[in-house]
């Protein structure tokens, strides 16, 4: 808008630090969360050393862990708790929602910015403060939280480090609350003229449902966090039963609380959170599949309905995490039934993705490889969840490495692969340059192999009954002896996976300056973001007001000259 000349020249701090431009905020989220992902992954590498070679000094960084260089049990617990917390709340969700959502959603709906730009910045800075608090907790006298990312009481009431964890969570919850309100309003209100609901790209739908999950599921966790904070600070006993014995003596509290209450409130958030992790990933995969098969997504409408139904159902499955708490068979039967039902929409979406491949002229570029590998990897993750959702089989599998393998298949080679796909796919939009295909493939293939090298043996160990969260990886248990040798295999795979990320880091840094320069639509894509310049204009995105004339995936329309029809072309 040329008449809009009141834009003052911004200095560096206004432009890159305290920016209210959704693109800068998206990049802030992206860079921060990628660093957190790397950090959370490194914590796991230390733990994997201990599991493979118990009680031997950790190489390289051993001196940081104490005089002997051996990872101590309490630090092992801290690393485990913080690995989960960081990967979920500071890594994957901010990257999937904060970064991709912020950068792509306003572009895909043809909006100049998010509905509330200042709120958007507030959301990022609240996230940042929460992240700093979580990091700082490692250096406090109490140390970082060590009660697992689930923070089950009574343990979490007594263990050190938990108070600062709760404080950090308050900031992170506030951040996603502000962010998701902003997303919902943006998607409802700022769609370009002609962009009706069923012309929205699947990615926007995925973010829309995700935002509702965040808005409605996080507050009960905030409630639970307040109650736990009261238990720790004000001496209440919401989660402590009467006559609880801790460290050899009866705990001096008024009693009559219930540890189960925490589990209910926690999983009421944390199950929808699973779909917060997976839905944006599905959205990214949908965009890339349609683009690289050069045909419309098969069953777009049923995918949208499935995503909405998935969001709704995710609120009534939480207690399938609690089959072993003795909450009763009636409750178990109910939650087992809803859990079986919620698998249906996931299968609908995954099936639609598979059928979308049928008859396509597939381009195997790096984003497509990551998106394609999402399908079987998420498939394995999803299908291995079924035995956990059935009360009877869960009795054997609960709290074993099988569970770890299951949800890591969903999140690591599932969601994180989709996020990598998104980075490779939208990098030209953000920078005007393509990432290197050769380095991309050098990143993809080893990552795929080593991901499976880490997580597939977990199923074997879990089926043999090896519990999760064991400091020695199960050495003292007779039933674990037959599967112990896998520990070293998994750890070596993890170290190799770390090495496999080096091409990615190099690729990002080198492509920023030396990547092949491309025009605004290098992939021949149809959705609206590709009509904007690369990078899109500060604060307004598009050169002129847009109108939308068609659905999101009009590829290979019979009778047309080109094999794609952008949504903005009449």
């Amino acid at each position: 808008m040329s008449h809009d000349s009141h834009h003052k020249k911004e200095n560096f701090i206004q432009k890159y630090i305290f920016s209210v431009d959704h693109k800068i905020i998206g990049l802030q989220y992206g860079i921060t969360s990628l660093l957190f992902l790397l950090f959370g992954f490194s914590l796991m590498l230390i733990m994997r050393w201990q599991l493979a070679y118990p009680e031997t000094p950790v190489p390289l960084i051993g001196s940081l862990l104490g005089e002997t260089g051996i990872l101590l049990p309490e630090i092992y617990n801290s690393l485990g708790a913080m690995h989960g917390t960081i990967m979920i709340f500071l890594g994957v969700v901010p990257l999937a929602v904060g970064a991709f959502g912020n950068y792509i959603v306003p572009l895909q709906i043809g909006a100049p910015d998010m509905a509330f730009p200042k709120l958007n910045a507030a959301s990022y800075w609240s996230f940042f403060v929460g992240g700093v608090i979580m990091l700082a907790s490692f250096f406090t006298p109490e140390g970082a939280a060590r009660s697992g990312w689930t923070s089950y009481p009574p343990l979490s009431i007594f263990e050190s480090g938990q108070t600062i964890w709760l404080l950090g969570m308050v900031f992170l919850i506030t951040s996603s609350l502000l962010g998701s309100i902003n997303f919902i309003v943006t998607i409802v209100q700022l769609r370009a003229p002609g962009l009706s609901w069923f012309r929205l790209p699947f990615f926007v739908w995925a973010q829309f449902v995700t935002s509702f999950l965040l808005v409605l599921a996080f507050p009960p966790l905030e409630a639970a966090a307040v109650l736990q904070l009261m238990d720790r600070v004000a001496g209440t006993s919401f989660f402590l039963p009467s006559g609880l014995v801790y460290a050899g003596s009866v705990v001096d509290v008024s009693g009559s609380g219930s540890p189960l209450l925490w589990q209910h409130l926690f999983w009421f958030l944390a199950h929808p959170e699973v779909y917060v992790l997976i839905l944006p990933a599905m959205g990214i995969v949908g965009e890339i599949l349609a683009n690289n098969t050069r045909k419309p997504l098969w069953g777009y409408k049923s995918m949208v309905y499935a995503a909405v139904f998935l969001g709704f159902m995710s609120f009534i499955v939480w207690a399938h995490h609690m089959f072993l708490t003795g909450m009763g068979t009636t409750m178990s039967a109910f939650f087992q039934t809803t859990t079986m039902i919620i698998s249906i929409p996931s299968v609908v979406i995954l099936t639609a993705f598979f059928i979308s491949l049928w008859g396509g002229s597939i381009r195997f570029n790096t984003p497509m490889l990551f998106a394609l590998s999402f399908l079987p990897m998420f498939g394995i993750g999803g299908l291995t969840g079924l035995p956990l959702g059935i009360g009877a089989s869960d009795i054997h599998l609960h709290d074993t490495y099988y569970v770890i393998g299951h949800f890591h298949y969903v999140v690591a080679p599932g969601t994180i692969f989709a996020l990598f796909a998104g980075i490779y796919y939208w990098f030209p939009k953000v920078t005007g340059r393509k990432m290197s295909e050769a380095l991309g493939k050098l990143h993809f293939w080893p990552s795929l192999v080593f991901m499976n090298g880490i997580f597939m043996p977990m199923f074997i160990q879990g089926l043999a009954g090896v519990s999760r969260r064991l400091y020695d990886g199960g050495q003292i248990y007779a039933h674990a002896q037959g599967v112990l040798e896998w520990n070293e295999f998994m750890s070596i795979s993890a170290f190799c996976l770390a090495a496999a990320q080096i091409p990615f880091i190099l690729n990002v840094l080198m492509s920023l300056f030396n990547g092949q320069k491309v025009d605004r639509n290098p992939w021949g894509a149809t959705t609206v973001e590709w009509s904007a310049p690369s990078p899109p204009l500060p604060h307004v995105n598009f050169e002129e007001p847009l109108e939308i004339y068609r659905g999101p995936y009009e590829y290979s329309v019979p009778g047309e000259n080109k094999d794609f029809l952008p949504q903005t072309v009449k």
Binding site: L177, V185, Q189, E222, T236, S237, S254, S256, G257, H539
Partner: protein
């Protein structure tokens, strides 16, 4: 380009951005207090017979009744302040918004005396599960009152209300949005009063 639909409604949704946002925010608040109310039910069922009623009888019903009336009054005055803006009567707005803030302050002062009265009798959150949930729920509600007072105080003072001179419709929308929040805070108290004091 400015973000559209700040002042005027989007034709097909019939909404301005801030009104949609505040309703979604209130939905999340419902879930927050819903979680705590569920915790109350859960804990009450788990508590020994009569325990909640016994500790509940230590609370002061007259003080809470006055507070209920004070908050309901403030809900009325906040609507009147918004209506005054619709009638383009800025002085009336100042009056009614001031009364709303006064009611909020009275509420907090009464709450302060209730709290200190309990502490004086050595009743703390740790005394029983009921007192724990009482202090948690009313404390969180009190924080919501303070949050509302900060926002409404800003719009009452010249630095916030000067928007009236440049963009009266925008300012009226802000007051309406804050008013919706204030009604919600009032409504939470309407639930807190019976479950804590009367049951």
């Amino acid at each position: 380009m400015q973000v559209p639909y700040v002042v005027d409604e989007r034709p097909d949704t019939g909404l301005i951005n801030s009104k949609l946002a505040i309703w979604i925010f209130l939905a999340s608040e419902v879930m927050l207090f819903g979680g705590l109310f569920s915790a109350y039910v859960f804990l009450r069922m788990a508590a020994p017979e009569g325990d909640f009623a016994y500790w509940g009888s230590k609370l002061s019903i007259p003080m809470a009744t006055i507070n209920t009336l004070v908050l309901i009054t403030s809900s009325v005055t906040v609507v009147l302040s918004w209506a005054s803006l619709k009638l383009k009567d800025f002085e009336k707005y100042k009056l009614y918004m001031g009364l709303t803030l006064l009611c909020a302050s009275i509420f907090l002062v009464i709450k302060y005396f209730e709290y200190t009265g309990k502490f004086h009798h050595e009743i703390y959150p740790s005394s029983s599960t009921f007192m724990g949930i009482y202090f948690t729920l009313t404390g969180l509600h009190g924080l919501h009152i303070i949050g509302g007072m900060i926002v409404m105080g800003y719009m009452w003072l010249p630095m916030g209300s000067k928007l009236w001179d440049t963009d009266p419709d925008h300012f009226t929308n802000r007051v309406e949005t804050a008013g919706l929040y204030w009604h919600f805070v009032d409504l939470v108290w309407i639930f807190l009063f019976p479950i804590l004091y009367l049951l």
